[in-house]
């Protein structure tokens, strides 16, 4: 430990002070905005629903306590103490660990590419919500105007609008097709908005965050109130939150809870390190870490209540329509007077008719209408936002207003996360001094945004959404877990637990207690290692497949499962490991450089070097 050089305080060249937050509130809102993202809205409710409702909260809280909060505290403390972006921090702790910072930087770059593409889709829907009737409410007509378009008639207007009018998706990932100019325009605007907000770093994001971090809460509350007053909401809530404790026995639940906490808090991106580095050096980062993590989890719960109430309403209205179709069949077949059978009396009427004329009843094309079946139709990710929720919004009175509110909320949720992503890209670039001092920061951010925009145009191809799924699954997951593992090991074992605790005591006024030290030293690294192994095993167990939207498939509108072609699998493997490769590459590079220095100057071996009054 004595040989490791201590962390150099940042010498911001050029005499310019490091930018600072205008107020503590700005910093907290920025971290909350970065942590609270689209996943809180469309991943957490899905997990709750799939894994036994309220029972999922148990592994979630356990993961939060033993993995989320400790790792988060490390990131904030390290950033605040060393006052540099992710690359600078890890290089300062040990030159061999510089690869961790570069890995974080690469992952942030890859994630910001596809994250902003999702925002592009949200923006497209937002632009299309300002009309009545909404464009996804009805199928368009075919060419001779005698019927509806075949693809739309077979699936549903909402799916048709998503797959055909928005994505214009191809049937196979190798069929790239041309760039979709509509999506390209929206992508340009999306990146222009991001550039506008990060143009001067935290000076501008700090102002923008007041809106983008708080507006979603406002809209969520409005949706909560509206959702709870809709018919069927209560059934949705009770069904989806009723705990089913048996699911806790499967290890998959615990794995998903751990990964959800990990990605939900946006750990190992380097964004939180960058945000914390702009703090004053004496700031209670422990309290910040705990409070931000709790706010993030509370937001997930709040969002899932709003989402479930709307989903319950949708299930109830679908169930009602199913009953109506059956009632129409009955009335037509048995010549009953109109409206003699209502939804409530349907079962009794059916039983009566079945008793008297079972043969005729059996010949009717009646569907089985059970509310639970409709409630069980769960969706996550883009499926929830762009298909299920848009359909639910159609049934609400005043649909365009709700659509505009919903997509505006999604856009600002994603935008505030993009600020953190861009910060984790730009702060290391600034700290590394990539551009000469004379060049203003606006140019650097502009170049970064331009480069990201040009690279992200590959997602506007017809096969773009398949590539986005690949990026989502492979580029982020494994790399972040490994990088977080290296982060914990780097801080606890390379930097030194004692020195780290001293630093925290100096910054916050109190040494970290047993809980912190135990989780940092033992529990979190073990957990991360277990998650990594389990996740890799899960990904490797099933050959990677994707679901393609193919109108010519026999079982259309079900999506066709296809395996990835070989070159795509190679790209997946590359994405999974390339960012983490920085770690061994940089470590080896440093080792070679040191060896070369020693062989070049053998006299220096073994003698203590007085360097400016500091003993080694």
């Amino acid at each position: 430990m004595a040989g490791t050089p201590g962390p150099d305080p940042p010498a911001d060249g050029g005499g310019e002070a490091r930018p600072a937050w205008d107020s503590k509130l700005q910093y907290l809102l920025s971290c909350v905005g970065f942590a609270v993202g689209l996943g809180n809205l469309w991943r957490f409710p899905y997990l709750c629903q799939t894994y036994g409702g309220g029972a999922f909260l148990i592994p979630y809280v356990v993961a939060l306590a033993f993995e989320g909060i400790p790792l988060f505290h490390i990131e904030l403390a390290v950033g605040q103490r060393l006052r540099r972006g992710s690359v600078g921090v890890w290089t300062a702790i040990s030159p061999y660990l510089g690869g961790v910072g570069l890995g974080c930087f690469t992952v942030s770059f890859l994630v910001s590419l596809y994250y902003n593409t999702v925002l592009t889709w949200v923006l497209w829907y937002l632009l299309n919500s300002f009309q009545h009737p909404l464009p996804w409410s009805a199928c368009p007509l075919d060419l001779n105007r005698t019927g509806l378009v075949q693809e739309c008639r077979d699936s549903s207007p909402v799916s048709y609008f998503w797959y055909r009018r928005t994505l214009n998706v191809s049937a196979d990932i190798s069929d790239s097709g041309p760039v979709q100019w509509r999506l390209l325009l929206c992508l340009a605007v999306s990146w222009a908005v991001v550039y506008l907000c990060v143009i001067r770093g935290i000076e501008t994001t700090g102002k923008a965050i007041y809106f983008t971090a708080l507006f979603p809460y406002l809209v969520l509350t409005v949706f909560l109130v509206r959702g709870l007053t809709l018919p069927g909401a209560m059934q949705g809530l009770t069904y989806l939150f009723t705990p089913d404790l048996r699911v806790l026995q499967s290890p998959r639940v615990w794995l998903d809870a751990a990964t959800q906490i990990f990605f939900s808090l946006s750990l190992a991106f380097g964004g939180h390190i960058a945000f914390a580095s702009y703090n004053p050096p004496r700031n209670n980062c422990r309290r910040d870490a705990v409070s931000i993590a709790l706010v993030n989890s509370m937001t997930s719960l709040y969002a899932s209540i709003a989402v479930f109430s709307v989903l319950g309403f949708k299930a109830a209205s679908d169930h009602g329509q199913c009953l109506d179709r059956n009632i129409l069949h009955l009335i037509n077949a048995f010549d009953l007077p109109e409206q003699s059978v209502s939804r409530d009396t349907y079962t009794a009427a059916l039983a009566r008719l079945n008793a008297s004329q079972p043969a005729r009843v059996a010949g009717l094309p009646l569907e089985a209408c059970r509310l639970e079946d409709f409630l069980d139709k769960s969706a996550s990710g883009t499926g929830l936002a762009f298909i299920v929720f848009t359909e639910a919004v159609l049934h609400m009175p005043g649909a365009p207003v709700w659509a505009v509110l919903f997509f505006a909320m999604l856009f600002s949720l994603g935008l505030s996360s993009m600020f953190g992503n861009m910060e984790s890209i730009i702060t290391p670039l600034l700290d590394l001094g990539v551009m000469p001092r004379r060049v203003p920061k606006e140019v650097l951010t502009g170049l970064a945004c331009l480069l990201c925009f040009l690279t992200a145009t590959c997602f506007t191809l017809r096969s773009g959404s398949y590539w986005l799924e690949i990026f989502d699954q492979y580029a982020a997951a494994l790399n972040l877990i490994l990088l977080a593992f290296f982060e914990v090991i780097g801080v606890v074992y390379v930097y030194g637990m004692k020195r780290f605790c001293d630093d925290i005591a100096w910054m916050t006024g109190r040494r970290p207690g047993f809980y912190w030290r135990a989780t940092w030293k033992v529990v979190s690294p073990l957990l991360l290692l277990t998650i990594f192994v389990a996740y890799t095993a899960l990904l490797a167990s099933s050959p990677p497949r994707y679901k393609a939207w193919n109108p010519r498939y026999e079982r259309f509108p079900s999506r066709q499962e296809k395996p990835y072609p070989g070159w795509v699998l190679a790209a997946c493997a590359l994405l999974s490991f390339l960012p983490t490769l920085w770690v061994p590459v940089v470590a080896l590079g440093q080792l070679l450089a040191r060896c070369r220095e020693k062989t070049r100057d053998p006299l220096q071996d073994g003698r203590p070097k007085p360097r400016g009054g500091r003993a080694c």
Partner: protein, 170 residues
């Protein structure tokens, strides 16, 4: 209504109600009908009747306050009304608005940044700046960081904190 529709067809202006024959009338208002020519000798071909009905479908529907879903003519597919397409799609309008706003705001920010840059380079040393910097920069002496007296945290007196450990142990 059927007779009226037939009258709209050229060469058939003299069709009367008595030329329309009904059969198979049921309780739930469905029936088969044929139209005969004025001499009542033979029925008119179905194609002609269908095209006549299709032309006046809207009028027939409105007379009964029904629509294509509630009044069905078997084997006459309905011509669906084309959706009202505005000349400029609505999304392009909103897109143009948002794009212009973003462009103008970005220009303003860039211009103000250039102005600030120029002002900073004109005025060489401004005291406010250095005072702000003092708060955040850790001064370095002999390669050892030592923190200036903290203005905000009054309860920890830096002078008496164990700073000794940060100095060179001998």
């Amino acid at each position: 209504m059927v007779a009226f529709s037939m009258r709209k067809v050229p060469n058939r202006e003299t069709t009367e109600i008595s030329h329309v024959l009904l059969c198979n009338v049921t309780q739930r208002v469905s029936f088969w009908f044929v139209v005969t020519d004025p001499s009542r000798n033979h029925t008119l071909p179905a194609v002609e009747v269908q095209s006549a009905i299709r032309m006046n479908r809207n009028r027939i529907n409105n007379a009964f306050f029904l629509n294509d879903q509630t009044l069905e003519f078997l084997r006459i597919p309905s011509t669906l009304a084309p959706p009202t397409d505005p000349s400029v799609p609505i999304w392009i309008i909103i897109f143009g608005v948002i794009f212009c706003i973003v462009l103008v705001a970005t220009m303003l920010l860039i211009l103000s940044g250039i102005q600030q840059h120029r002002r900073k380079h004109k005025g060489p040393s401004e005291m406010e700046d250095t005072e702000d910097k003092c708060e955040n920069v850790i001064t370095i002496e002999n390669g050892i960081p030592c923190d200036p007296l903290d203005m905000k945290g009054g309860h920890i007196n830096d002078a008496f904190v164990t700073e000794d450990e940060r100095l060179t142990p001998l």
